[in-house]
Amino acid sequence: MMARILASLSAGLVFGLGLAVSQMVNPAKVLAFLDVAGAWDPSLALVMGAAVAVTWVGYRLVLGRPKPVLTESFQLPTKTAIDARLITGAAIFGIGWGLAGLCPGPAIASAAYLQAETLYFVPAMLAGLFLARRIA
C-alpha cells in the first residue's frame, strides 16, 4: 500500500515537473496554442506529441508484462463506442478549457504558484467533477 502511494506520488512529481518545464501550467501559453487566428504558438502540439510518443513506447513495454509491479492488474478502459455522452462531455470541457486556459492537470499544478486565480478555478472544477458524478 505504501509503495503504491509512493509510486503514485513519484509519477505525479514527474508529471508536474513536465507541466512546468513545458509551460503548460501557464494559461497564456495554452491559450496561445488555441488562438489559431492570433499569434499562434504551436508548442502545445509538441508537448502532446512528445508525451504520446513516450507513452506509446512505454505502454508497449509495460503492458506486455503479466501485471503491474505493485498491483494485481492493469485497469484499462473497456468502452469502445463513440457516443453522445463522450462527445457532449468533450465539447463542454473544451469550452471551459478555452475560457480559462486551464485543464485539470495544470489547474492542480498551478497551486505551486500561489496565485489567486487557482482559488477561483480549482474549487469550481472540483464542484463540477462532483456534480457530474452525482447527476450525469
Partner: protein, 142 residues
Amino acid sequence: MENFTPGSALAGGALIGLAAVMLMGLTGRIAGISGILGGLLPPAPGESAWRAAFAVGLVGGTLLYRAGGGPLASLQFSATPVTLIAAGLLVGFGTVLGSGCTSGHGVCGIARLSKRSVASVATFMITAALTVYVTRHLLGAG
C-alpha cells in the same frame, strides 16, 4: 510564432509521457487527471491515498521546477474571477461526462490508439479553439 518554445515543449512532454508510463507500469492506472481527481469525489475506501498522492505530486513537481530556478516566474491569466469559476465548472463537469481530459484521452488514450480518445481530443480542441476565437476576436476580451 515568436513565442514558440520547441525544446522545452519536447522535454516537458517527454516527462509527462514518462509519468504516464510510471503510473501504468507500477500501479496499473491510466494517468488521467480528471479521473484520478473524480475518484476522490466522493472518496472510495482503499482508492483515495494514491489519488491524493498523485495530486500532491503535481504541485510538488511544479514546486521543484520553481525551486530549481525554472524560467517561468509567474502564471499569466486573462480570465476574470467569474469566468474562471464558470470555466472550472465546465471543465469538471465535461471531463466526467466525457470520461477524460487532455491527459487521459489526449496522452494515454491516443497512445493506446483509442478511437474514443481521438474523437474526444478532436472535439475538445475544436470547441476550445472556437471559444478562444469568440472571446478574443469577436468579443475582444482577454
